[in-house]
Symmetry: C2
DNA sequence: CTGAAAGCGCTTACAG
DNA sequence: CTGAAAGCGCTTACAG
């Protein structure tokens, strides 16, 4: 491995000058610049990131803005752990990470947390952009300040985000349909239960449903898809009544698809006679959902690798800051098919 | 963050002395040691790994000893890429990685490659221990020299390996059976085809078959399991004859399970009439196997995350060397269930 | 436009 | 048993 010193000697200049061209810091004559660049290229030289990190000491910080998790929806706990783990790993580069959470029901909390993070003067942002209008405001600020940002988990278009890290929701829904179909007879009816208001994260839920529906159409499988909306706020008893009444009135339903991480709340409310005779497929290996897998209430969970989402987003951003590595515009993580038997090996970071 | 300098000042000693107690390097009086330790503890101090890495520059090297890959079995290409990628990542710690491959049919090549690696005086070894007798010899040398080693992919017992990184083969086979069963009727017969001699890697193949069989027994599912052995050396035409004749003579066979990474060679040889009516399940997302998934010849592939195996083994060893982090004794990677639709998102590192 | 020098925090001979 | 000093490779004021 060459060093800057050696490059400098070969070019008959000082190390400082090499550093200047290395980082396009200007103030170098065209002639020396050309000479140095040639030598750098000839040796395929790249700076030693350790030495760089040490010299830059605490130069960079990454702000992460993600939803809070709560007992009924633990989903965001896992990306948060991924972020923390990555933060630990990149300490070696002197990069700091600051995470703040917001309430997915309250756009103001999103803006407030963002402003709070901004105060610390971060070099970059990782954002789970739950609210599209507010995200526009936020992004305007970031772009004015030239702060790079990566979107996490929630895929929205029309922004100059450095990258998106998450799941291909359409394909995930498509796969759910295939799995569902393999467990039921042809010409079955399926029920989609949306357990939370579509105001947040709606893109993913919407795309999952789209993928689910598309599978049956593409394969010319006779089917009927029904939809039931159940709000978060509803009490368990109301939920019970609504679900079980619905199923009673639609005895042709052979499968229930829950395109959110809340399938456990559906399982919770369904009568045993339905639980035993209807196939259920949901998303995300939260502890409550995994429990449903273990008791055979749910056949499959599709996981979007929440830990990896957080971990990768931070690492990619750090590589961008420290090494100037440009990440792919979209990073789609593997779509994990989880069953009772393999779920334990999938790092359950809750 | 405190620095060694500050700790030293507070203890009225030099930085060198603090370093000595930090790394238990001895040569420090009991009294100063106690004093320094107290101060370290009080501030919850830990060394800056970046500075440490820079100062230690090129102190460590890891030797990796794995099977070679070839066109008919690409499996080992992917762990190799994982190793290379990890090597890239840990360059920042000044750790070097040297990989040598051996022929899984030739124990001598295993020993020879090991001796070659030993010459470079590595700080640690990553070994895929294909041959148990030869591994004993190798390990004796390593233990005499106090060189730590991690076993990769092939799980053998009775050694003081720092860790094992790979798959829980029994559960993988068990899952294969569950998937197979969901695609076939009760009371079916299943054929297990072993496409390579059991001399190498036999543990994994053996355990997969064990898990496969166990599933049917545990669930009281009437079944019959047949076995066909086909050697590597056999030509495609002989393979064709043997497989198709066997299937003709056993029309009750509804599923074929190939507990190795060579299911593509079976698909290659089976007549269409069998291909269309028999469920096939195999292991590993090599390009040829993925092709079988895409053409619907194979229903499921179970992947053991070969890239991650290589990557993780190197990273764990580096953490052990650089930070003295002790890894878990067994690291079982997730058992990936791959179908046509999700296989593209599983990093296919071939 | 360019160089010399100090500094990031730790480790390591070397001297005593 | 302990300290002073050089060095790892890069970055950054500062001086010219």
């Amino acid at each position: 491995m060459k060093t800057i010193k050696e490059i400098a000697q070969e070019a008959n200049v000082s190390e400082g000058t090499v550093d200047r061209v290395l980082h396009n810091r200007g103030g170098v004559s065209k002639k020396t610049e050309t000479k140095i660049k040639a030598i750098i290229k000839a040796h395929n030289f790249s700076v030693n990131p350790v030495a760089s990190a040490l010299a830059l000491k605490n130069k960079f910080s990454i702000a992460a803005l993600i939803p809070v998790h709560n007992t009924s929806d633990l989903f965001w706990k896992s990306p948060n752990i991924g972020i923390t783990k990555a933060a630990e790993d990149i300490k070696t580069f002197g990069t700091q990470v600051l995470t703040l959470t917001y309430n997915q029901q309250k756009p103001e909390s999103y803006i407030n947390a963002f402003n709070e993070l901004l105060k610390s003067n971060p070099s970059a942002f990782i954002i789970a952009p739950s609210f599209s209008e507010e995200t526009k405001e936020i992004v305007a600020v970031l772009e004015a300040k030239n702060i790079p940002y990566i979107f996490l988990n929630i895929e929205i278009e029309g922004f100059n985000n450095l990258s998106f890290v998450g799941q291909d929701a359409f394909t995930a829904g498509y796969i759910a349909a295939k799995l569902m179909q393999s467990k039921t007879l042809e010409s079955s009816s399926f029920l989609i239960i949306q357990s939370r208001k579509n105001i947040t994260n709606n893109n993913a839920v919407f795309k999952r449903i789209e993928g689910f529906t598309k599978y049956f159409i593409e394969h010319n499988i006779p089917h009927k898809i029904l939809t039931l909306e159940i709000e978060n706020q509803e009490s368990k008893s109301i939920r019970k009544t609504r679900i079980n009444t619905y199923l009673k009135n639609h005895p042709d339903i052979k499968g229930v698809f829950v395109p959110s991480s809340r399938i456990h709340m559906i399982v919770d409310s369904m009568k045993d006679e339905y639980l035993n005779n209807i196939e259920l497929i949901g998303f995300d290996n939260t502890p409550q959902n995994v429990e449903c897998l273990m008791t055979d209430s749910v056949s499959y969970l599709i996981s979007q690798k929440p830990f990896d989402q957080g971990y990768n987003a931070i690492k990619l951003m750090n590589d961008y800051l420290v090494k100037n590595t440009i990440p792919d515009r979209k990073i789609y993580l593997p779509i994990d098919i989880l069953i009772k038997e393999n779920v334990i090996y999938n790092e359950n970071s809750y």
